[in-house]
């Protein structure tokens, strides 16, 4: 039992001893625990910087250790970060560790502690953590100062898309503070009584000068803020390449990529590091850098290009052999010598690269649309001969060189132009002619085409034309036409001529073009054929000629409507029987005429065929001007002979005659047609385009018609413009006209004849005065009264003159007072020669000039009084009796005849009153009075109307009234 107790005690002691030992081992501080901890902050980068050291390391001892670091915020229990930092620790080394805080360090207290452990294979038994160091407190707020408000972090630089935390510290808890991002208020999170933080996610680049974030005390003038510099992500340099032009300097280039958008002082920098030499240079430019090559020392280079800014670092690498990156400089001093019409020698110089380098140079020659290329090896000077050049041609030569041993890049081109010399024209001009006859002469218009540049070999100065008379070969004529003329006109007689045309430049003369012009213009009647053109031109073909021809020529006018029709021609070989004539001048609706000539072996052209056609036919745009004639009641004739079918925009195939009528029925040969305006009319088709007259028949008399004549072609007819209106006459009018017109003519003829033979007619039809002896009155007088009384024979009484006595009364009197009025008398007085003395003169009262009667007619003219009946004439031999008798009858007649009944059998009283002076009677013809009008008409027996006195009559006219003829 005692032994058991002893053993138990011993075990317990041993156990205690071991336990004690173990306790001592565990509780003993690690000999390499971190010591001398120092914490500092970098406000710009918002970093906590920790430095410490590990003591007890032997001299030159190195030990791999792990340091565990704990960071708390606001209070120690609020651990926000734990990190194991492994490193190899050396003797007497100060260790550093940094931690970047997302929350600005100024806005909250931070606490930091650490412990260590050995992590070295050499001391595996030491893998125990040391004790934690004491908490190191980081409180920046205390050192901020006394301003009322602070905003953090200051001038922080972040990449676009990053998350940033902003905070403010206010000195007064009562302040109500608002914070803004570029003017937009932010919603924050309270960290403490006077601290708030704002999380900004995925910040964007706004401007180069940064983003303004600021906080303001609501009721105050305090404003504080920060500028957040947001950078675009730095890109890796692209296309990094180095090369040399002279083996002394390397020029390295790269594409920096997009700009980070930062201020210059914050933007990235570029460094170039060469690993073999260990040289490093800071590049001054963003996209290139120069590296000085050490002479003859290094062939291989390994470059590292690093782009770096405060946020990021990007590197690219390049390994190369210097001799493989030779990029020669452009050749220089390019010259041409011995330049002739077909050859030229080009020389140039190159920049030397080292002593033993050969360059491969490439020479390109551009000219006449062609490029030729040559490669030449060059050491110092290059030379190349260009052959087979065209005369008078400008060429452009360019040269570039590269390293012949190891090609890397061609140099830049060096260009130079040169022009070859002129040579004599190599080809004869292409000549054609147009022959016209004029006044017995042959007018030949020569045309030639300008030589092509390759044919001219220089500037053509003039054309020589030699005209040789083949009949009399000794006679020739030389014309020199200066360029750039392309034709001339010569007048020849009807002889046979040979014409030579040559082109001349400053060097020489071209071969001659020979053409034969015969006196016969050769315009033989050849049937003209129609051809159909297309957009590509006219396809022409002709029959092969049995006789020998040396070729064919097709000519035409590009502008046939112009006086200068712009003659064109085309030369074709002897075996050709078809061609396509195309021209940019061809226009739709224009007729083109083509003549095909065969050229005989004697070089005489003769016309083979004529073709005509349109490149595109168009519908006629105009209708013919139609003339209508021969209008009858049943027909009329239409004519449009002036209409030219040649100048129409298509071949005229015929004409359509449209006829509108009210009847609407169409006769045979006509067909009904509906016009565009839905009007129905009759249409007649004329198939012959040469027929330009048409008779419209079977019309109705006195009917209204409308007609229109329009041409029709294969592409349509002319416009349906205005119809011409016509009305047919009635059926009988022509007959009547045929009758009436001759009748009128006859009557007119008779009238003229009657007028011309009036005297004869009068004598035949109207004897002047009836013979009084044949009157019954005479017998009555003779039997009952004084036998001495006799009727005066007018033939016995030769009156020489008529005297009219008219006494004017003082006052006008009425008809009832005519008794006291002296009448006017007509005295028949013998002429002086025939007057026989005391024979009684016969006088008549001229009632025509009776004033009273005149008054009764309410006009101042003398009325003709009623004539005394023939029964009373016998009493009138005595003036008194006659007067009385006349007065009585006159009064009776006035009293008995109503005024209104004096309207029968009038005699014109237009004559004006006459003077009573007898001498004045023959000399003063009646003149129209103021009131020249028809006066009261005196009734005159129709049978006794006085005949007009003729010029041959020697009597005065006397009007006598027949008995029984009274007024009604």
């Amino acid at each position: 039992m005692a032994l058991f107790s002893v053993l138990q005690t011993t075990f317990l002691l041993a156990s205690l001893s071991l336990r004690t030992y173990q306790t001592e081992v565990w509780s003993e501080p690690l000999p390499w625990a971190p010591e001398s901890l120092k914490v500092s902050i970098n406000s710009t980068r918002q970093c906590l910087h920790l430095q410490w050291s590990v003591h007890n390391l032997a001299y030159h001892q190195e030990l791999k250790m792990v340091f565990q670091i704990e960071i708390s915020r606001i209070k120690t229990s609020n651990v926000i970060w734990v990190e194991d930092y492994s490193t190899t620790v050396k003797w007497n080394q100060v260790l550093h560790w940094s931690w970047e805080s997302k929350l600005p360090l100024e806005c909250a207290k931070h606490f930091l502690r650490m412990r260590s452990a050995v992590d070295d294979a050499k001391t595996p038994e030491q893998r125990f953590w040391s004790n934690w160091s004491s908490w190191e407190e980081v409180d920046v707020q205390n050192s901020l100062g006394h301003e009322p408000l602070f905003v953090f972090p200051k001038d922080k630089l972040v990449e676009e898309g990053s998350n940033v935390t902003i905070c403010y510290v206010s000195r007064s808890q009562q302040n109500n503070i608002s914070c803004y991002l570029e003017g937009v208020r932010m919603q924050g999170e309270q960290l403490g009584p006077n601290v708030s933080m704002f999380n900004l996610n995925h910040v964007a680049f706004i401007r180069e000068t940064g983003t303004n974030i600021y906080c303001k005390v609501d009721q105050g003038d305090v404003i504080k803020g920060v500028v957040l510099f947001v950078s675009k992500v730095l890109e890796e340099p692209k296309d990094f390449s180095c090369e040399t032009q002279d083996l002394t300097t390397l020029n390295c280039t790269w594409d920096p990529g997009r700009d980070t958008g930062l201020l210059k002082q914050l933007s990235q920098s570029y460094t170039l590091f060469e690993s073999f030499s260990g040289k490093k240079i800071l590049c001054k430019h963003k996209s290139w850098c120069s590296w000085q090559v050490a002479p003859e020392s290094q062939e291989t280079y390994n470059f590292t290009l690093t782009a770096e800014n405060n946020l990021r670092k990007r590197s690219v690498y390049l390994l190369f052999n210097l001799t493989h990156r030779v990029h020669p400089k452009a050749p220089f001093n390019v010259l041409f010598k011995n330049v002739s019409a077909t050859n030229a020698t080009m020389t140039w110089k190159v920049h030397t690269i080292g002593n033993y380098y050969t360059l491969l140079c490439q020479v390109d020659l551009y000219g006449e649309g062609k490029v030729t290329q040559h490669n030449i090896s060059v050491r110092v000077d290059g030379e190349h001969l260009f052959g087979g050049l065209e005369p008078d041609t400008q060429y452009m030569a360019q040269v570039r060189c590269a390293n012949a041993n190891r090609f890397w890049k061609w140099s830049e081109w060096t260009c130079q132009n040169f022009t070859t010399a002129e040579a004599a024209p190599s080809e004869a001009p292409d000549v054609w002619r147009n022959v016209k006859s004029a006044q017995g002469d042959c007018v030949v218009t020569l045309f030639w085409k300008p030589l092509l540049k390759l044919q001219a070999n220089g500037k053509i100065l003039f054309y020589n034309i030699v005209i040789e008379n083949l009949d009399r070969s000794s006679i020739s004529k030389l014309l020199s036409i200066p360029a750039p003329a392309n034709g001339t006109e010569v007048i020849l007689d009807q002889c046979l001529y040979q014409i030579h045309v040559t082109a001349n430049n400053s060097v020489g003369t071209s071969p001659a073009s020979v053409i034969i012009v015969s006196g016969d213009p050769g315009n033989t009647e050849v049937e003209e054929e129609r051809v159909k053109g297309t957009e590509d031109g006219f396809s022409l073909s002709w029959k092969p000629q049995p006789r020998n021809v040396t070729g064919y020529i097709v000519d035409w006018c590009d502008h046939p409507r112009d006086p200068l029709c712009d003659l064109q021609w085309k030369n074709l070989g002897p075996n050709t029987t078809s061609t396509v004539v195309s021209s940019g001048a061809f226009r739709p609706g224009v007729r083109y005429n083509f003549r095909i000539y065969g050229i005989s072996t004697e070089r005489v052209p003769y016309l083979l065929e004529k073709k005509t056609g349109y490149s595109q036919e168009l519908a006629p745009s105009d209708n013919p001007q139609v003339v209508m004639s021969n209008l009858t009641s049943h027909s009329f004739t239409l004519s449009w002979k002036d209409y030219s079918t040649e100048s129409q925009p298509s071949f005229i195939q015929g004409y359509h005659v449209y006829l509108k009528s009210k009847a609407g029925q169409c006769h045979s040969g006509w067909e009904k047609a509906v016009l565009s305006d839905d009007a129905v009319c009759c249409k007649y088709k004329i198939d012959n385009p040469k027929q330009k007259t048409f008779v419209v028949e079977n019309l109705q008399p006195e009917s209204f018609y409308e007609f229109l004549v329009t041409p029709y072609t294969s592409v349509g007819e002319g416009p349906h413009g205005a119809f011409t209106k016509v009305t047919t006459p009635d059926e009988y009018s022509p007959i009547l006209i045929r009758i009436i017109l001759p009748m009128v003519f006859c009557i007119l003829l008779i009238t003229i004849i009657c007028y011309l033979k009036s005297q004869w007619m009068k004598e035949k039809c109207y004897p002047d005065i009836p013979d009084p002896y044949k009157s019954s009155v005479l017998s009555l007088i003779k039997s009952k009264e004084n036998p001495r009384l006799t009727i005066m024979n007018i033939k016995d009484c030769v009156p020489d003159s008529i005297e009219v006595l008219n006494k004017q009364e003082g006052t006008r009197k009425s008809l009832t007072e005519t008794e006291s009025t002296k009448p006017t008398y007509l005295y028949l007085l013998p002429t002086e020669t025939s007057y026989s003395g005391p024979e009684p003169c016969i006088c008549f009262e001229n009632f025509t000039y009776n004033q009273a009667a005149s008054d009764s007619a309410s006009c101042g003219h003398v009325p003709v009084p009623p004539k005394a009946p023939p029964s009373q004439l016998g009493l009138l031999t005595s003036p008194e009796n006659l007067l009385k008798s006349l007065e009585k009858n006159y009064m009776n007649s006035l009293g008995e005849i109503p005024a209104g009944e004096t309207s029968l059998n009038y005699v014109s009283q237009l004559a004006s009153p006459m003077s009573g002076d007898k001498s004045s009677l023959p000399t003063n013809p009646p003149e129209p009075a103021l009131c020249s009008e028809y006066k009261m008409q005196m009734a005159i027996p129709l049978g006794l109307a006085s005949a007009p006195s003729s010029g041959s009559s020697s009597f005065s006219s006397i009007t006598l009234l027949d008995e029984g003829e009274h007024y009604h």
Partner: protein, 238 residues
């Protein structure tokens, strides 16, 4: 953009033309009236905010509500109009010359915060114009009568520099730059008003110049009514 560039460039061109007639420092124009007219025109142009302040506000992002209100002249940074009016001519010119020297330094400091080459060029042109204006002030002072004004005490204008204590806070520097430019334009506006008063009333000049008026050559200066200028565009509120 072109209009803005034109707006910025045109005044500088005009100023340059004005300075063409002003010889370099040391060679002065001896025609008082002509020189005075030039000073007035230069002042008109230099008080225009479109020359410096507006481009600065835009490039620094200060054209936002809540920020613009704080872009105001810091009190006491520049002499007030009243203070300038109280000065005699000689004092006034001396003060102006001094202030313009300080402004030149401040503008140089401001250039560090201007990233764009275009804005940098604008500031450079403005500095050249100020140098020319200073030359004219110097010449103007030489044309003033050599009176007892030269012995006057230092004028009672703020002795503070227009630039506050330099700060590493970019945001604060930005605001201070804006306030400085605002004050600069306001100051030039006040200078222009003083110049205008010089030309308007000799009696007023005498009142403000207790040590005697100008000599007859100076008294001849009468700015006609038709030459009275309207406040320029972009003028700051008083």
């Amino acid at each position: 953009m072109q209009a803005q560039l034109l707006r910025r460039t045109l005044p500088s061109l005009v100023l340059g033309l004005l300075f063409l007639s002003t010889p370099a420092m040391g060679i002065c124009l001896d025609k008082y009236q002509e020189l005075f007219g030039q000073l007035q025109k230069q002042t008109d142009i230099m008080q225009c905010t479109s020359l410096l302040l507006d481009p600065y506000i835009k490039s620094q992002g200060l054209d936002k509500d809540g920020l613009k209100e704080h872009c105001r002249e810091r009190p006491g940074a520049f002499p007030s109009k009243d203070a300038l009016q109280r000065l005699s001519k000689r004092e006034f010119l001396r003060t102006l010359h001094t202030m313009l020297g300080s402004i030149l330094h401040r503008l140089t400091a401001l250039q560090r915060d201007v990233p764009k080459a275009q804005d940098l060029e604008t500031l450079n042109r403005a500095k050249q114009n100020i140098r020319g204006f200073r030359n004219n002030i110097h010449c103007m002072a030489r044309l003033l009568p050599d009176s007892s004004e030269t012995t006057e005490p230092t004028p009672a204008v703020p002795a503070t520099s227009p630039s506050p204590t330099p700060t590493s806070d970019t945001f604060q520097r930005r605001l201070e730059g804006c306030r400085f430019l605002h004050g600069y334009h306001r100051f030039m506006h006040s200078v222009g008003q003083v110049f205008q008063e010089w030309g308007e009333s000799p009696s007023r000049r005498r009142r403000h110049s207790p040590h005697g008026g100008l000599r007859k050559g100076v008294r001849r200066l009468q700015l006609s009514r038709r030459n009275k200028r309207l406040p320029p565009r972009g003028q700051l509120p008083r």
